[in-house]
Assembly symmetry: C2
Homo-oligomer: 373 residues x 2
């Protein structure tokens, strides 16, 4: 689910563009290295004959978090030598766990940070059930981690009339999505509260709306989701797609702000507080779009078309399914593919004609949480 | 890896044939229901605040073991009410874990025995690392189960000169495969010994060579692996495949006999005994080929061609990769597919011309093991 991870469309580009696409997501995690180290330093020693347990919630293929997990393993091994360490990767049932295990076993091209083969007594499991439920046994988790995954809500409360993303929706829709996201956040936290050992820690890097209203792709004058909507709406107005097809394209996402993330910790009647979770720290941070940065780096001397060609595949890699699944199933696969190709071609042409302001900056909320001893 | 599970080629047949194909593998597990119930009755109560842990080693998509796992869950819940139960499915990295999780979550067509949705406090994990290593934390497993998986050896010690399976190989090759299988069996048992809680149990249903020399597809006068070899050799002798392509087709399998399965328990110097494992019971059993049974059932009045058409897909579903991967990678995909189609077409024609003795009877060794308290 993570933006910037390996997607088919990204992988089709040359090796240089591929590295660019994963660098942003890695930068986000690298921003939080201090938080990881601090969390590991804070957790208490688990009972005798018990493994240390780490989990990555919403791990996709495990690629972008490999370095962070390795660093966590090193820190845990230093603090508690000789302990077995169980790493559990979770994601939706549809995730590619085969690729995840190959990645962790060092059977893919990515040969960096292969902690499973580097260290003894590491165990790796996966759980293909959404993180809105409890996934691990009670009081078994020492350190839970999540990067760029929890903006996905468990289900859409409604379609969005006049936009493709709730960031551009009317007030009623926004309220409905906010309510769903609040319930989901509470369920995420209650699931983790049950799983955590007393004194255990969580570090989350979640997409957010920051204190001055910025969010993914909306930081530099051009709003990425407005652009998606404008182009999708255009295909509707030309009669290429139906009313229903326009309507069905909406992202099952919500970008919470720091107040929404903090609410279950502030409310003295919240079940999250009753379950023993405490907010240690919360702050927002921006990681610049690596494609935009490459374009602005004059040593690359890219044309506007080259920028557009490099920029669109990363957007397409995580957004394509939303538009593809909105199309009527009675259309042939070729017809659907042609419409989607046209859609992203138009986005590319728009950027090539005037690249000003197009950038997919990452806006995250970095959250550290503790379960009371 | 399990014979009789859903394969693409099987699924292409009509619904009747599909049920036939899974019935055999289920019969094997149903044969062992008494062993499962006995194992659950024997395990001691785990320490307080600890989940009960079950594992299925070599689970494929979890389909054929779903009923057995549900029955085990019911028996555990009755003995130890209120305990969380963690079920871990293991297989190779290449397994389809997405399908496994969909199956367990009740998101596939198979709506029977959905224990995850039926009961509270069930947790389901997967581990995509081969079972020749330790996969679960020390002393955490109450009950381990495996059906029709452990005949796969960790690597082939050599290719097989004059046959496609070690059952037809010369003595030197047989000795090399037996040695690899003995080391693998010891590693399987040592991995499980580390994982088991004291008093924990294992029940394995493994392909074997029985006391009178029968094994999969070699029970009724015609030897399935000899037939594979005869047809593959024929394609070589006609010049359709090269020497190397003939040689490279060999199954990474070994059918141990009861003496080989028992050896680590009998040898007083064995590390398996030192690790605390004890053999509770061992016996062999035969489950008749459901395709053959359907053909012999006169109420079906099948022609010999209909029998052949129903019989070959189940063989193809688990054997095809061996022959496909033996073909030179320089051949086009279409060329490789055509050769493989021809190979199985010839097998079908052979059976249709004279069905006598063609049957894939399952020959298993049923083993119960305990870890000393």
């Amino acid at each position: 689910m993570t933006i910037g991870k390996t997607g088919a469309t990204v992988a089709m580009k040359g090796a240089g563009y591929y590295s660019q696409s994963t660098r942003g997501a890695k930068d986000v995690i690298d921003n939080a290295t201090g938080m990881l180290v601090e969390a590991v330093a804070a957790i208490p020693e688990p009972p005798a004959n018990t493994p240390l347990q780490i989990a990555d919630f919403g791990a996709a293929d495990g690629g972008t978090s490999k370095k962070a997990i390795r660093e966590t393993v090193v820190a845990l091994r230093n603090r508690f030598p000789g302990r077995q360490i169980l790493v559990t990767y979770t994601d939706l049932p549809s995730n590619d766990y085969s690729n995840l295990f190959k990645n962790i076993l060092g059977l893919t091209e990515d040969q960096d940070n292969n902690y499973y083969t580097e260290f003894q007594d590491i165990l790796v499991h996966a759980c293909g059930i959404g993180f809105h439920r409890q996934l691990l046994p009670d009081a078994s988790l020492d350190f839970g981690f999540s990067a760029t995954a929890m903006h996905y809500i468990s289900e859409k409360p409604c379609e969005i009339n006049n936009h493709v993303h709730v960031v551009g929706a009317g007030v009623e829709t926004r309220v409905a999505y906010a309510a769903r996201a609040a319930t989901d956040w509470e369920n995420i936290l209650l699931g983790r509260a049950a799983e955590l050992r007393p004194g255990g820690r969580l570090v989350f890097m979640n997409f957010c709306k920051d204190e001055i209203g910025r969010y993914l792709g909306n930081t530099d004058g051009i709003n990425m989701f407005d652009t998606f909507n404008q182009l999708w709406r255009g295909m509707h107005d030309e009669g290429r797609i139906s009313d229903a097809e326009y309507l069905q394209a909406s992202f099952p996402q919500y970008y919470r702000n720091t107040e929404e993330f903090s609410a279950p910790f502030q409310d003295v009647t919240s079940p999250v507080r009753a379950a023993g979770l405490r907010l240690i720290s919360i702050h927002t941070g921006l990681v610049k779009c690596p494609y935009r940065a490459a374009f602005e780096d004059s040593s690359n001397s890219m044309t506007t078309r080259e920028f557009a060609v490099s920029y669109i595949p990363t957007l397409r890699s995580w957004s394509e399914t939303v538009f593809l699944n909105a199309l009527d199933p009675s259309r042939s696969p070729e017809e659907r593919e042609a419409l989607i190709d046209l859609f992203y071609q138009r986005y590319e042409d728009l950027v090539a004609a005037n690249p000003n302001g197009h950038a997919m900056d990452y806006v995250h909320c970095y959250i550290a949480i503790e379960k009371e001893l």
